[in-house]
């Protein structure tokens, strides 16, 4: 059975920081249309701050390193994304304390906890046009695949596909949570920025967690 090492988790976070840097303008563009034009800058500020701490992450157990990621995001991102991604990683850390590697089942638990944290904090349901629309189906796909003992790379590939479908599903929706909800009907026909950054998180997971570095 494949396991996920602490180094792979670090690689995931690092890859995601780079992806966010690349997609910063795009995320901001999405947030200009239905929000306040800062999602790209917010995520970038946070993950650049995480990158600065890369040396600190190394050698730590997964729970400890995810806690550093969480606290860094919480204290640098701000806005809805800061609270939500911060909560995601804080919850993820809470179920990985002391672990230096994760079984697929343990990784699933990390995701489940993270999702639950976001839902508790943000109170968004599926269809509210938020990051939950990408996150929930992605976690669900993992749950099914890992439950069926499918290999991790396949589970993650399915999660990416599910996140992408979830992301697409936000386009026609009218937002009911977050800043986009103020636009009412004018929020329809736009892709949710937070769902987009969540999709990228799974994309980077698939790229980093199934190969050794």
């Amino acid at each position: 059975m494949t396991t996920i090492t602490a180094d792979q988790i670090i690689a995931w976070i690092e890859r995601y920081s780079i992806r966010i840097a690349e997609q910063k303008e795009f995320l901001t563009k999405l947030d200009s249309d239905i929000g306040d034009a800062d999602h790209g800058a917010n995520m970038h500020r946070g993950f650049q701050a995480v990158l600065v701490k890369k040396a600190e992450l190394q050698g730590k157990d997964i729970g400890a390193l995810l806690k550093i990621v969480a606290m860094t995001l919480i204290s640098t991102v701000g806005g809805a994304a800061g609270a939500l991604y911060g909560t995601f990683f804080l919850q993820a850390s809470s179920v990985t304390t002391g672990k230096t590697e994760l079984t697929p089942g343990e990784f699933l638990l990390l995701l489940e906890k993270g999702l639950a944290g976001i839902v508790l904090r943000g109170k968004a349901a599926i269809g509210d046009k938020t990051m939950v629309d990408a996150l929930h189906p992605a976690v669900k796909a993992c749950r099914r695949a890992i439950g069926a003992n499918e290999p991790l790379d396949q589970a993650l590939a399915q999660a990416v596909a599910a996140a992408e479908a979830g992301l697409q599903s936000t386009i026609p929706l009218m937002a009911r949570r977050g800043r986009a909800s103020y636009l009412g009907e004018r929020s329809a026909n736009h892709q949710d920025p937070g769902a987009t950054s969540t999709f990228l998180l799974f994309q980077c997971a698939a790229e980093t967690l199934t190969t050794n570095h």
Binding site: T28, S32, I34, G35, D36, A37, D38, A41, N42, R45, I74, S75, T76, V77, G78, G79, A80, A81, G82, A83, L84, G86, T87, R121, G122, R176, R177, G178, R179, S181, Y182, L183, G184, R186
Partner: protein
């Protein structure tokens, strides 16, 4: 982008540095985490009043720190809610033993981050209450949405609750008073132009020469509706009518009329809006007993205006009149 800045990254830091340098007798600016506190904080035996939010709304909130108003303000990045650690540190810095009230504008980010900060402070034994301001009638309220935004009433709540705290009220009383102000205040805004977020470098939305946005918030977001540019009198009526209907305000009411510039609209225009608003209210038998006109809760350089109406009673009127001494608001002292 044409702005008097050095670099988008440094806007907030340099601006609050300037505020601190300009008013050293009134405020102290703390960096990393960033917050602005009264120079004499913590005031022993006084409830601490903390607010905060994204930057770009100056003078709110940093300009309202001082005697008779806020004890601390937490500035986030431009249009981005501050982080829990800022709020937590500010809360500790102003706790004079009677607890701390967080005045939070109703935005998902602000609410969640202030919740996390309150959790942190309470975990350390501090008494913390939070009141969420949601006065924007442009947004339809519903259990299944993020609800109304917090806009102009925030400034009035900070002044009024700040005065009560100065007089020695308890945390519970401060929270109850803040709820009352929020319940009696309503706002609506419009934009003639978009603003330019510094790190974006171009307007958040494009608005043709002959169009305007009605029902905007304070973060450069588009409004509920885009329409052809109208006259100041027509616009005033469009802003005031939903406000009047929402509470509703009635014949015989006393009100504070707050006409606010979104940043780029100068005084000469604001008073044209004020004039019409005053006329509409007078015609309805509503008495404008206090007036407040100027750029107090802004969206960077956005041109446009918002109107806030607060129903006054003796308590609120007296507290509004109490001395205040902050960088942006001062009277009686």
């Amino acid at each position: 982008m044409k702005k008097l800045i050095n670099s988008p990254e440094n806007v907030v830091l340099e601006s609050i540095s300037g505020l601190g340098a300009a008013f050293p007798d009134l405020v102290k600016v703390h960096f990393n985490p960033n917050y602005i506190v009264r120079a004499d904080a913590p005031v022993q035996g006084k409830v601490g009043i903390v607010s905060g939010g994204g930057s770009g709304h100056e003078p709110m909130h940093g300009g309202f720190v001082g005697k008779g108003m806020l004890d601390a303000a937490c500035p986030g990045a431009v249009f981005t809610s501050p982080t829990p650690d800022q709020m937590h540190e500010a809360t500790k810095a102003v706790n004079g033993g009677k607890g701390v009230l967080h005045i939070v504008k109703n935005y998902t980010g602000d609410v969640m981050n202030f919740e996390m900060a309150a959790d942190l402070a309470r975990a350390e034994g501090a008494e913390v209450e939070a009141v969420v301001i949601d006065d924007d009638v442009a947004v339809k309220d519903s259990l299944y949405t993020a609800g109304r935004r917090g806009v102009g009433t925030t400034v009035l709540a900070e002044k009024i609750v700040g005065a009560a705290a100065e007089q020695g009220c308890t945390l519970k009383e401060a929270a109850a008073l803040c709820h009352k102000v929020n319940a009696q205040g309503r706002s609506m805004g419009m934009a003639l132009t978009s603003c330019v977020v510094p790190h974006v470098g171009k307007p958040t939305f494009d608005l043709p020469e002959d169009e305007m946005e009605i029902g905007i918030g304070i973060h450069g977001e588009p409004g509920r509706q885009r329409m052809k540019l109208k006259s100041a009198d027509e616009i005033t009526e469009m802003l005031l009518t939903p406000i009047l209907e929402d509470l509703p305000f009635q014949n015989g009411d006393n009100v504070l009329l707050f006409v606010n510039s979104m940043g780029g609209t100068p005084g000469v225009e604001l008073f044209i809006v004020y004039r019409k608003a005053h006329e509409i209210l007078t015609n309805r038998g509503i008495k404008v007993s206090r007036s407040f006109v100027g750029p107090y809760i802004t969206s960077l350089e956005m041109a446009g205006a918002s109107i806030t109406l607060l129903k006054l009673d003796d308590q609120l009127t007296k507290l509004w009149d109490e001395p205040v001494h902050t960088p942006a608001l001062r009277w009686g002292v």
